[in-house]
Assembly symmetry: C2
Homo-oligomer: 427 residues x 2
Amino acid sequence: MNIPYTKLNKEQLIKERENVEAEYNRYKDMNLNLDMSRGKPSKEQLDISVGIMDAVNSSSDYVSGVDVRNYGLPAGIPEAKKLMADMLDVGTDEVIVSGNSSLNIMFDLVSTAMIKGIMGHTPWCKLDKVKFLCPVPGYDRHFGVTEYFGIEMINVPMTANGPDMDIVEKYVNNDESVKGIWCVPKYSNPQGITYSDETVRRMAALKPAAKDFRIFWDNAYCIHHIYEDVQDKLLPILPECKKNGNGDMVYILGSTSKVTFAGGGISAVGASKYNIADIMKRITIQTIGHDKINQLRHVRYFKDIDGMNRHMMKHAELVRPKFTLVLDILDEELGGLDIAEWIKPNGGYFISFDAMEGCAKKIVALAKDAGVVLTGAGSTFPYKKDPKDSNIRIAPTFPSMEELETAARLFVICVKLASLDKLIEMA
Amino acid sequence: MNIPYTKLNKEQLIKERENVEAEYNRYKDMNLNLDMSRGKPSKEQLDISVGIMDAVNSSSDYVSGVDVRNYGLPAGIPEAKKLMADMLDVGTDEVIVSGNSSLNIMFDLVSTAMIKGIMGHTPWCKLDKVKFLCPVPGYDRHFGVTEYFGIEMINVPMTANGPDMDIVEKYVNNDESVKGIWCVPKYSNPQGITYSDETVRRMAALKPAAKDFRIFWDNAYCIHHIYEDVQDKLLPILPECKKNGNGDMVYILGSTSKVTFAGGGISAVGASKYNIADIMKRITIQTIGHDKINQLRHVRYFKDIDGMNRHMMKHAELVRPKFTLVLDILDEELGGLDIAEWIKPNGGYFISFDAMEGCAKKIVALAKDAGVVLTGAGSTFPYKKDPKDSNIRIAPTFPSMEELETAARLFVICVKLASLDKLIEMA
């Protein structure tokens, strides 16, 4: 059982710091070169999907609605629409299957809203002010898109049940310049939180001041469980929105980037038929169609959503030990020290770690100096500004178990060191 | 030898019309259902590339710079950059390999110019007026993009050597609101004209009034020859631009959509390093990267540009008889009648046909009534408005030889019928 650092006097803190620093220097001497920064699948995970490389080959028939090797079907082939609609909990007439990147779909949705407007509403670029709500901590690339387009981002704190809905309702229902909210509703990035049914219902029952307000429901980790027996369930949002007469209020996004291949999968947007028609007006100008061969590859390989869900259990087997390893080291080394908090997720790609205020940047810098790259401190917040300088996103999937253990052990040493410095200063 | 219709008197015209109408009705009775409307490869052409389906399979190694199955390399894998740079006549540091659609690249370039501006210049959406020059006849989807963004399109007549450069120079060098020009410089759509060296040199030597003027050099048919022995050559534009201090003035586009699979290929943009850096600023926000597996598939299959050029000769063998068939029927049936002109191209996907003024819509309608779909009259012009109602784009590649012969024979009958109506009215 660790004694809380907060109970130590200055002398004890200094003594402990000497021990920890000695350990830190031992790691530094190893000349490590490890990366825990991005949510990338490991080589072993990529190998799970290797069969997809043969799912369409030179002896296949290439027909799904049309010859997929030729132009046509800009909203996707019928079988892929069915698969992705099932993944996103929407109807087959409520989905567009796109290229390899759901981030690209989101970028294009925001870009179109900026320059053409949504469903005939005023293009956002013609308005004095456009704001997005950003549950924090959140996904850096979401914030990157809104920052790119000059959209003002407003932090909304996350709770154990999702974004603080009192704050969301206050903004959305009263401020006409609030045009969107970024959500990762299941196994959120980085905290692994799944929105509660009540959160989803309150989200779906919003009464936006802006008629063209949209929820960007990035269901990136919808089937990305860590366990076979303990799995979060997310209430499908589109039916809830419809019940409230808000059928057009949500864009639902997803991809197979972390199901099959990162950047080599297929992506989709689910939304009401009216939204789909509105989006297709742009897509039919923008492209003659997305890569239907890769769509066919995916449906031939998985057959259906059950096949995809079974496939995800293979990923779970590979990522589970990595999450367990890191969480065990955090428990063992930092448990009871009263200097940090973290969440044990049931799915997704990250462990969200909160250090003492003002310590995150220092921890990341210490780790970097010892050869371990972590996601930049602050990057889980809009403008890369964590007001408390506290949150660090740990991405355990990519490194090998051995590398991961080394990186995690160094990480806790860095946390201790930075915390001790702060406590000594305060003592 | 046909007697020119223009030499016939009214009585003769009426008599001829009766004969032609009888022939037309004979075709109408066949209940045809044929399509000569779009530049689509035939099934046989798609079958040429079937080996690419196996070029990356479950026993491949997946490394080109990185494991192509994972995130990374948003500008493309090194081998694909080399291949596409060679195709577009640019350096390997002057290219971004993208997804499956060069149209999408062009759309995104215009979209970015509209909302963010090019290289720090004022976003076009903030200007009172933005204009593009459109050599006509041209590619309907180019005009669709500029129309979508509310950009004013100005017709520039094509000559046998490319766009009328006197007019291009007058506009570009004097009118600051002219921000771009759409060009298909080799085997142009629809005429199959390749810009002469002088045209390329004058294009590269433009002195644009607008500092952010860009040539959209859509080299869609750069290697799409019809013959092995007679091939057009296009002067590479980027070196010419550099000679004139205009290195940043051109975006060069291309794809393998009509090399491998339509919508299942890879696409690229070539441009100066400064343009590439400017474009990457957007791409790194827009996506984590394009489909690198398909990039690898293409480079493993072709090895290099020589391999791709050899591959194109297989396409030539399949499309050549189709072009010959249509051209022979045009010659045989319409040659010397003095009612139409057309161009025999050395490459590309189309035959551009000019009927007597005011006859194109009627010809397309007559063909449609008899079950043959042609590209809509007017669609080769901005706003689908052909001022002379004369140009029709014939796309011979997709139908079978048998279908094509029927369609072409019906087509010439429709041309005769519409022309006779006009001549009778004038007589």
